[in-house]
């Protein structure tokens, strides 16, 4: 849900980008954090806030397909970029990665889950046959405190398998 009245305010410092397929103009200070823009300005709270120093990955989003901590991304860095949040992954139908997390129980409290799924999405988009080390690296910036990662390991393995089977 994008707040149009905010998005349509114009000034000479307006930042143009694309969020989940919708072009948007952001009239915000250039140093405003993408995390704050998403959660507070646009009320898109699927992106979570936790450590705010780029360690935990709860705020992970895709910027031009790359996984990025939105707490470390400033508004000016979004100029001309395509930003995908967790809300953007399931606009038409649920993403197969999300389905794998559902079926394997790759979440408990769910607070790390949006960021975790975004990181898996980034990994599999670029590397459909990741090695164990590739997965470890891709998820090294996403912390989960509930699952002990057991369900997450199984969800990722299933997502890789699913992609293999469908290609």
């Amino acid at each position: 849900m994008i707040n149009r009245s905010l998005a349509e305010r114009r000034s000479d410092k307006v930042i143009e980008c694309d969020i989940n397929g919708q072009p948007i103009s952001l009239d915000v200070p250039p140093t405003r954090r993408l995390l704050t823009i998403l959660r507070d300005d646009l009320q898109m709270t699927g992106t979570k806030v936790s450590c705010e120093i780029g360690r935990c990955g709860a705020c992970m989003v895709l910027v031009d397909g790359q996984q990025v901590n939105s707490c470390l991304t400033m508004a000016y860095q979004c100029e001309g970029k395509k930003i995908t949040t967790i809300e953007g992954l399931s606009q038409a139908e649920i993403d197969p990665i999300q389905q794998c997390f559902l079926e394997e129980g790759g979440y408990q409290c769910g607070y790390c889950t949006p960021g975790m799924i975004i990181s898996v999405k980034a990994l599999l988009s670029h590397n459909p046959e990741p090695s164990t080390e590739d997965i470890e690296e891709a998820l090294s910036g996403n912390l989960c405190r509930c699952t002990g990662y057991g369900g997450i390991v199984r969800s990722v393995q299933k997502a890789v398998q699913l992609r293999r089977d469908s290609s």
Binding site: R39, S50, E52, C56, L102, C109, Y111, T113, R145, G148
Partner: protein, 757 residues
């Protein structure tokens, strides 16, 4: 049989709260906002210990956009909180006792203005000497942190005569075990939204593990009748005990009432670290002796727990540790004493395992050391000293009899991981493998003498939904999914027929807390009690509406069916519309308690045996957990995905407790302020194999059903890792987290290279 998705078949289900969690649609309470809401912030003490000379808020109040600045003078009711022992000031009057103590709070239009307001509050402090050592804190020279001195609680237990017991011992092991200040590290930090309502009511949207307890504490602070406060407390982004006590709620509530506007507070990670609870660091000295056959003649324990600045549940945690330092073993004589001591080291409190983690790490360390002295296999040594099913509990109390101890012992003894453990050799000379095991019994419920109510409600709502209404909380453990599965399996309802209502004091009955591995047991027991009356009444009403005998009807998916299940005769919607009087049944009962009158003594126990295989890199000193085996005897599995998740997740926390986690403090000041220095396990640390075996058999006459599993996965892993590290390296571990430096070696090939002439 291993518990997993395949072996669970159709019982492995997608959680009802899953779709909203994986799509980001679920609004956590800290995601909420309201038009016109203000931002709340708390001014916290920069000193671990100081006197407050004066507090001036005038400058802060004059800042445009600041709507309220409050201090202790603005608290209408009791300026204290604490679940059992309210000794913590909501806003400090004349003294601060830890680096997170709250002094003032502000409500402002933006976070920036709120931050500016905090900086503009002028507090004059006189810095006082810091009490940072719980042993020194007990000396006469130490500054007194509370009117009663620095001892929060002292307790002991014993039987037999340890002095003569030790005199008869062939081998005695004496060791002191140290455990870290572990942080809960829920991913969602504390926060919430506080809304003043029409008619003087207040709605609190803020996570807690016991909504009614928060309501009681808030009413006390605000000087309001409890009914004037509605606490909405789920869903929660993790808690693990850490959100059981009040955290931001008093400030949000006070600011909302003072300003008449909605107020949102959401802690930064650093504020969460400095203000929040931690696991009690404990120093546990043990002396344990055996005769030459290996029978334990004497076991002497002394526990010192660092409870920090305020009580919260520090006394109860110590009692739990005292109960759990003897474990599933028999002794000729036991002498346990413990003390929980106030310091200026933050605040320690309730945390998954509740003192069991520390106690069992120490106890199992003793068992391994004794077995080695005797030249016995450590697992066989445990068998020889194992409790019998009919034995009393660890405090001499009557406990519910099960064969859990022997069941889990045998499961581990027969596991391939344990049987194949001899192979320590790896291809790389700097990598060593080892396997270790631990044996655990862990109590559930709050224990004798502590109010421990339980219960719930079933109703057929007007729209035809069957409502299960409980005062429990969903913080990720899967309570909603477990309740749903119980209603499907035990009542025959369909998924679509059910509506689960939890976490809202305006809607739910008193069910007690979602703590102490108790909620699943109590939901099961509630449904056992409600099932007969609820189904009978539904069939009676259906029989009247259909003019058919009740014997010809049964409850099923979608409504009332004919007995053989071919025809749906009446939907639940039609039934709800047809009844004269609402179908609603409530039950209320206490958590089962031991008849033995010892405060805190537990009646229901879960048993577990844990084996882990580790790989130690002796160049770096780093330990990696490769494999885990958990045998858990906790009665019937109510929800396989939830059960597995609790054991895996609890175990993951315990790996952190053993290997990497410690909130490091220097003179009462946190040095680990965020997740870059406070190291919880990552994906790479925990992607080894883990096998969970649920042993479901209970004695035929057992009436207590499923036992709790929320904590058992987190208490046996650390001692098993310590044993595995010893197996791999020959080095005994007595302090957690394991210091990598202590495991580093100069390997043979380096020695050779250097010493070549």
């Amino acid at each position: 049989m291993a518990l997993n998705k395949t072996t669970s078949g159709g019982r492995w289900r997608i959680r009802p709260d899953g779709p909203e969690k994986v799509t980001g649609k679920l609004a956590y309470l800290t995601d909420m906002s309201r038009d016109g809401m203000l931002v709340g912030r708390v001014l916290r003490s920069p000193h671990p210990h100081a006197g407050i000379v004066s507090i001036h808020t005038e400058k802060a109040k004059r800042i445009p956009g600041v709507h309220a600045v409050i201090t202790h003078a603005d608290i209408p009711g009791m300026n204290r909180f604490g679940i059992v022992n309210p000794d913590q000031p909501v806003l400090c009057e004349d003294r601060v006792r830890y680096i997170g103590d709250a002094v003032a709070a502000v409500a402002a239009e933006t976070p920036e203005i709120a931050a500016q307001a905090l900086e503009s509050i002028e507090v004059e402090y006189v810095v006082l000497p810091v009490v940072d050592d719980p042993v020194k804190a007990q000396t006469k020279q130490a500054p007194k942190l509370h009117p009663g001195g620095n001892v929060l609680h002292r307790n002991q237990y014993g039987y037999g005569e340890v002095t003569s017991g030790f005199a008869g011992c062939t081998h005695i092991v004496e060791e002191t075990y140290l455990t870290p200040r572990q942080m809960h590290t829920y991913m969602e930090t504390e926060g919430g939204l506080f809304i003043p309502e029409e008619g003087g009511r207040l709605t609190v949207y803020s996570p807690t593990q016991h909504g009614y307890k928060d309501r009681m504490q808030l009413a006390r602070i605000l000087g309001l009748p409890e009914f004037n406060i509605r606490v909405v407390s789920s869903p929660i982004g993790g808690s693990f005990g850490g959100k059981d006590e009040l955290n931001v709620q008093p400030y949000g509530a006070l600011l909302a009432l003072v300003t008449g506007r909605p107020v949102k507070i959401h802690n930064s990670r650093w504020e969460s670290v400095r203000a929040g609870l931690k696991r009690h660091p404990m120093r546990i000295a043990m002396k344990t002796g055996v005769d030459d056959s290996g029978r334990i003649l004497a076991h002497q324990v002394s526990i010192v727990a660092d409870t920090g600045a305020y009580a919260t549940l520090g006394a109860e945690v110590l009692n739990f540790a005292i109960e759990h330092v003897t474990g599933p073993y028999r002794y000729d004589s036991v002498e346990v004493e413990g003390v929980s001591v106030y310091t200026n080291n933050g605040v320690s409190g309730e945390f998954r395992g509740f003192g069991g983690n520390q106690a069992i790490f120490a106890l199992e360390g003793q068992m391994d050391r004794l077995a080695e002295k005797l030249g016995q296999d450590p697992w066989e040594f445990r068998l020889m000293n194992m409790r019998k099913p009919e034995d009393p509990g660890p405090l001499g109390q009557t406990i519910v009899r099960t064969d859990g101890a022997m069941q889990v012992w045998k499961s581990l003894a027969g596991s391939s991981m344990w049987l194949d453990r001899q192979d320590r050799i790896t291809d790389n000379p700097w990598l060593r493998k080892g396997t270790g095991a631990a044996f655990v019994m862990h109590g559930s419920g709050l224990g004798f003498g502590i109010p421990d109510p339980a219960g719930g409600m079933l109703a057929l709502a007007e729209d035809g939904k069957i409502e299960a209404i409980f005062g429990y909380e969903e913080f990720g453990q899967g309570l909603i999914a477990t309740l749903e599965l119980m209603l499907i399996e035990q009542f025959g309802f369909g998924t679509e027929d059910i509506r689960i209502v939890i976490g809202d004091t305006d809607l739910v009955p008193h069910s007690g807390s979602s703590t102490a591995s108790r909620a699943t047991s109590m939901m099961w027991k509630s449904l056992q009690k409600l099932r007969g009356p609820f189904l009978d009444r539904m069939l009676d009403e259906a029989s009247k509406l259909l003019s058919l005998p009740t014997e010809s009807l049964r409850v099923g998916t979608g409504g009332i069916w004919n007995r053989s299940g071919e025809h749906l005769l009446l939907t639940y919607g039609q039934l709800a519309q047809g009844v004269q009087e609402e179908i609603r049944f409530q039950t209320h009962f206490p958590f089962p308690a031991s008849p033995t009158k010892r405060i805190g003594a537990h009646y229901l126990y879960t048993y577990s045996a844990v084996a882990v295989e580790v790989e130690v890199n002796v160049l770096t000193g780093r330990v990696k957990v490769l494999k885990q085996y958990h045998a858990v005897a906790a009665g019937p599995v109510m929800n396989p995905q939830g059960f597995l998740g609790q054991i895996e997740g609890g175990s993951g926390m315990a790996v952190g407790f053993a290997l990497s986690e410690d909130s490091v403090m220097d003179s009462g000041v946190y040095l680990t302020r965020n997740l870059d220095t406070y190291m919880i396990p990552t994906y790479t640390d925990l992607n080894g194999e883990i096998e969970v075996h649920a042993i479901e058999d209970l004695p035929e006459d057992d009436e207590h059903g499923p036992r709790g599993v929320g904590e058992i996965g987190s208490v046996g892993v650390a001692p098993a890792i310590a044993a595995a590290v010893y197996h791999a390296t020959g080095k005994r571990i007595s302090k957690l987290p394991i210091d990598p430096e202590s495991l580093q070696e100069v390997p043979d090939f380096l020695v050779k290279a250097v010493s070549r002439p």
